[in-house]
Subunit: 338 residues, 2 copies
């Protein structure tokens, strides 16, 4: 790499003082003080030499710049890709760029990305926090770095967040399956300590109980994240005839897709042999031979609210943490019929 062009280089090329170059290029009120032709020559030379103003130094001085850091759990998951897009569209309206980072549900990655963003003077964060990152968020709080959580939150941590009503989402989907006449509604979920995982399970369970059904461990398929082989084994087990499952509620998009693939492999017909209800949107739901029912999250509303709350924090207008819980849309189609 060649040397970066400095104000001094330009000054030497034009034959004026470095101070004068700085004065002109920093857009000070030069009219009254600097000879117009000299100012013009300086600007032309700066352009010719490809001078690149040191914005970081400027940013340091003002302590502010216009970018939001968005931390998602996995950028290859279409849910986060679409959510990132929604946040970007909203941030753009307010003159903010969005830089993304992806933690891959990993504590260390999350910390490294937070550091990387902070070191680059990001204005604030929107974060879909990975499991166990509460202490990282506490650090941000203590350091007075503005942030808003999305998708997930921690019960014991006072933060602003925008999430969906997860309890109600699975409650409604389960209730719908039961009201269609399905008697053994199974539930497929990840095994983790995240609040939304817990809330979704509680919603499913409450719907069962309210319908007069008992909790039944034979109906639960709880699997580890990023372990396709284990999922396969557990899911096929769930579908064994002796379990009598006649409907399944998947609690995430990735579980939905993996499950549908195995259902196809086993030549199980939806909804005749088995009703299914999925979570989040997917290109695949519309292209399945039987249109798939799903819980639709209000992505653009999540993006809108998260950016709004963060901007209020950035502008010093936020008096306290803001907690937003949005309703989902229940898209019931052929796959959930009896």
């Amino acid at each position: 790499m060649s040397k970066k062009i400095s104000l001094k280089d330009i000054a030497e090329a034009v034959g004026v003082s470095t101070a004068l170059v700085s004065y002109v290029l920093n857009d000070k009120d030069e009219q009254t003080r600097v000879n117009k032709d000299t100012a013009k020559r300086i600007r032309e030379m700066a352009k010719e030499m490809n001078y690149q103003p040191n914005q970081i130094a400027k940013s340091l001085k003002s302590g502010k710049s216009q970018a939001i850091g968005l931390l998602v759990a996995d950028i290859s998951n279409p849910f986060f890709g679409n959510l990132a897009r929604a946040i970007e569209d909203e941030a753009k309206k307010h003159g903010y760029s969005v830089l993304f980072g992806s933690s891959d549900e990993n504590l260390e990655n999350s910390q490294r990305l937070i550091d990387t963003f902070i070191n680059r003077q990001i204005d604030g964060f929107i974060i879909a926090p990975a499991e166990g990152t509460a202490s990282q968020l506490e650090y941000l709080k203590k350091a007075n770095i503005p942030f808003v959580l999305i998708d997930r939150y921690f019960k014991d941590l006072e933060t602003s967040y925008v999430v969906i009503d997860n309890f109600n989402a699975t409650y409604q989907a389960t209730q719908l399956l039961l009201n269609q006449g399905h008697t053994k509604v199974a539930y497929v979920c990840y095994k983790n300590q995240l609040q939304h995982t817990e809330d979704r399970y509680s919603g499913y369970l409450q719907a069962l109980l309210d319908h007069g059904n008992a909790e039944d461990s034979n109906l639960i398929c709880e699997v580890e994240f990023n372990n396709a082989a284990y999922f396969r084994e557990q899911f096929i087990e769930l579908l064994q005839p002796d379990r009598g499952v006649d409907a399944i509620l998947f609690s995430t998009n990735t579980l939905s897709i993996m499950g549908l693939k195995i259902i196809n492999e086993l030549n199980i017909t939806v909804p005749d042999d088995l009703a299914v209800f999925c979570f989040d949107e997917s290109e695949a739901y519309d292209l399945f031979y039987c249109p798939i029912s799903y819980v639709k999250q209000p992505l653009s509303m999540i993006g809108k609210e998260a950016v709004k709350i963060l901007l209020e924090q950035l502008r010093g207008k936020a008096s306290s943490e803001q907690k937003v819980m949005l309703d989902v849309e229940i898209v019931a189609r052929k796959s959930c019929q009896k």
Copy 2:
């Protein structure tokens, strides 16, 4: 937001000079010069007060930091989400974080993101350039900012890039359809000036010609980006019986998904009524009632090569532009059969 803790604040709290605090916290060889207890008190106070070292200033000084800026065309497109993930996995092995930006195929967004990244002292770029951004890349070249293009490149611009052999990809897919006995193989593509769009079309055309078929405008469905209504109209027109189309090659994943949805709506059976060959991977291809044939891009290899080339540039080991063209995998399944 409360005031950021400065070295001076710590100095006052401990009762020493600011210079001494700077000396200790910047990890200078303090053993010989600073009283051990004082150094310890300073470090403890810095921790207690949540002092956050100004990494930007450090970064400014050294001129280096460990992050790659990745600019993709649309983060909500699963192709870019998966590619971003591949690049991230590879960069991580070399101690680099990846920050993403998404241009939405828009010139201004692209420039704004490039500026935002540069202002934040990103080490180098990996870019899937939007149409018409050649001048932005020329600027990066002149400014000696290391970058590597992926997915797309500009014929007239000398840059390093990692792309697939697009000509050969569509050539092989078309040839396969023709060899299966399909006589009217249609081609669905975007209307733009991007090199890979042109290369893919040339591959399709050459396969037709080599098979003794003539170029036929009735077999081409060329649509604008981000215009679903226009696509719908043009695609339904392509499927009219008088055109006699018996096979379709889609040249991108987004076109594939939109097309398959309309094929379903019109109750056209794949492959009995119509054979289809898609591009890139999608969750939907496996879940379609008839397994979809597709052109599979070597995403992790693209990520690996792009990171490798960029790191060579960053380490000053790159003597000239490196151009890598990778082969695709042709995944032929039931959807392309006669």
